[in-house]
């Protein structure tokens, strides 16, 4: 299943990704020199892994190579050094990139159309997921008629419908206002409880990482290096999905609260790793 990209500099041939859905070993990557500037080192000796079903959050300041990391995981770039071995991955870019000439449901069904399903069949499958994820009634809206939060939901459903086991989310809620972002975080947690996937979530919001992830990796400013890595040993949200209390996780698995002292402690831990002080 795993796709493997060998280093350009020193090809290392290993075919199996073992147990991990994501496995990066000492990965470095530089963008080639543009114009007069030298090459830009984006990532340096980054090692990380994620087990199947895990939600790994990568936090770091702007320009620390987080998006590059996702491109490496998705196989859009090959590392200069080191080894990348990942399950088939799909990218959810920062901007939703919904196609303005397609309805919400047709946008969500894009991967199915690419997989050569008929328009009707693709639409039907996307439609079913819309209903399940609390998006009923928005199927036929054009993207410009949707709010920012709704657009991100549709983009996420498009990502899910690719059928790939590994989702790479690049700052999915970065452009949303705080209230919408909170709603979206709950929605994402609930959606992943219904549709479990391995997720690599890139964000600059430490709190978001702690609220959503099983594990948090903190990257340094460019060139990105792993500063710290820690587990979030709190249960992930299983319920709360568009007001449907019938989620299939056990009762009591409510969403993590940002006021929970354990969440606050983890946030502090990540912030101090970032070197921004306790209340950055």
């Amino acid at each position: 299943m795993a796709t493997e990209l060998q280093s350009r500099a020193r090809p290392v041939i290993r075919r199996s990704a073992g147990e991990d859905a994501v496995s990066l070993d000492a990965v470095s990557f530089a963008y080639p020199a543009a114009g007069r500037g030298g090459a830009v080192q984006a990532l340096e000796q980054v090692s990380l892994r994620a087990a199947p079903g895990e939600l790994l959050a990568v936090v770091g300041p702007s320009g620390c190579g987080k998006s590059t990391l996702l491109e490496l995981i998705c196989g859009l770039q090959a590392p200069d050094a080191g080894r990348v071995a990942c399950a088939p991955a799909v990218l959810m870019p920062q901007r939703d990139l919904l196609l303005p000439w397609l309805s919400a449901v047709d946008n969500a069904a894009l991967a199915l159309r690419i997989a050569r399903l008929s328009r009707a069949e693709a639409r039907q499958r996307a439609d079913a997921l819309f209903a399940e994820l609390g998006l009923d009634g928005f199927q036929h809206a054009r993207p410009h008629e949707l709010s920012g939060g709704m657009r991100q939901r549709v983009a996420f459903v498009r990502t899910l419908l690719s059928g790939k086991p590994l989702l790479c989310l690049d700052e999915p809620f970065g452009a949303l206002d705080a209230i919408t972002r909170g709603e979206m975080q709950e929605w994402l947690a609930g959606t992943l409880a219904r549709e479990p996937r391995t997720v690599v979530l890139v964000t600059h919001d430490v709190e978001e990482a702690v609220l959503l992830a099983d594990r948090v990796v903190v990257l340094s400013p460019r060139p990105g290096r792993v500063l710290a890595q820690f587990e979030v040993e709190l249960p992930r949200s299983g319920t709360l999905l568009g007001g449907h209390p019938d989620g299939h996780r056990q009762a009591g698995d409510g969403p993590r609260q940002r006021t929970d002292p354990r969440v606050i402690a983890l946030r502090e831990q990540a912030l101090s790793a970032l070197g921004t002080g306790a209340r950055g």
Binding site: E71, Q94, L97, I114, S162
Partner: protein
């Protein structure tokens, strides 16, 4: 107040302006003593149109067919060339300079050659119209195809889209509005393109059209009739332009947002 009445008011604006200009022209022609063979007054042009309706209509039908088919050829070839240039960057380097240069070719230089190849019928004229009109379609379509968000190809690749699917699902529809803008420019020069085509290719009577008529009349002291034929071309160009606007509503409805007008 309502959108409908606002639109109705906008609809009157061009008519009012046209009426004012016609009035000024009439006054000038009557009062200044300019020769009628130099500038016929609007009423004389209208009379010439009325008295020669059969002839003008016959020639108009010939010209209109050439404009429509010639533009169709220009749009199809321009679009196809733009797509080829987009998909094969090397082609861009090779073809672009030649396409620009082609716009400088005086048609009479090649008119006879085209007739030698394709005869006295309609085809040499269509080729001339296409040559005159294809360029704006190429330029704007190439730009439209290249204007897709740079992240879009990455997304499509992780969705396992082939090059063709990326083109079909993202680039092609995204380029359509730009292609239509190019089509508008092409259309605006399409009618004069037909005039050039008619007057610079040897032809038979069946394919003479309004261009030949205007040239004959203007040189034969039939100035009012030449103006009448010109007025028909004038109106036809406007009609084509609005027809394209209607087609645009059907083809790119997502571009019709409430804010801002599309004309």
């Amino acid at each position: 107040m309502s959108a409908r009445s606002a639109r109705a008011r906008r609809g009157w604006a061009p008519l009012l302006l046209s009426a004012a200009l016609l009035g000024a022209w009439e006054l000038y022609a009557d009062a200044s003593g300019v020769e009628e063979d130099l500038l016929p007054a609007p009423h004389a042009v209208a009379a010439a149109l009325w008295n020669n309706a059969g002839l003008v209509w016959h020639n108009f039908a010939v010209t209109a067919e050439q404009v429509v088919l010639g533009l169709a050829l220009a749009l199809a070839s321009g679009f196809a060339l733009a797509v080829a240039i987009h998909l094969f960057p090397l082609l861009r380097r090779a073809v672009y300079p030649l396409a620009v240069g082609s716009q400088a070719v005086p048609i009479p230089v090649i008119g006879v050659l085209l007739v030698f190849w394709w005869g006295f019928g309609i085809f040499p004229k269509l080729a001339v119209i296409a040559l005159i009109c294809f360029f704006p379609v190429v330029v704007s379509t190439v730009d439209g195809l290249a204007a897709v968000d740079p992240e879009q190809p990455k997304l499509l690749r992780t969705l396992d889209a082939s090059r063709w699917q990326a083109f079909r699902f993202a680039e092609l529809p995204a380029a359509l509005p730009a292609a239509l803008s190019g089509a508008r420019i092409a259309l605006a020069v399409g009618v004069i393109g037909a005039f050039i085509a008619e007057t610079s290719t040897p032809t038979t009577a069946a394919y003479s059209g309004l261009g030949r008529e205007i040239m004959t009349d203007a040189g034969g002291f039939q100035t009012a009739r030449a103006y009448a034929a010109t007025a028909v071309l004038f109106a036809f160009a406007i009609a084509c332009f609005y027809a394209l606007g209607l087609a645009e509503r059907k083809l790119v409805p997502w571009k019709l947002r409430p804010r801002g007008e599309t004309t």
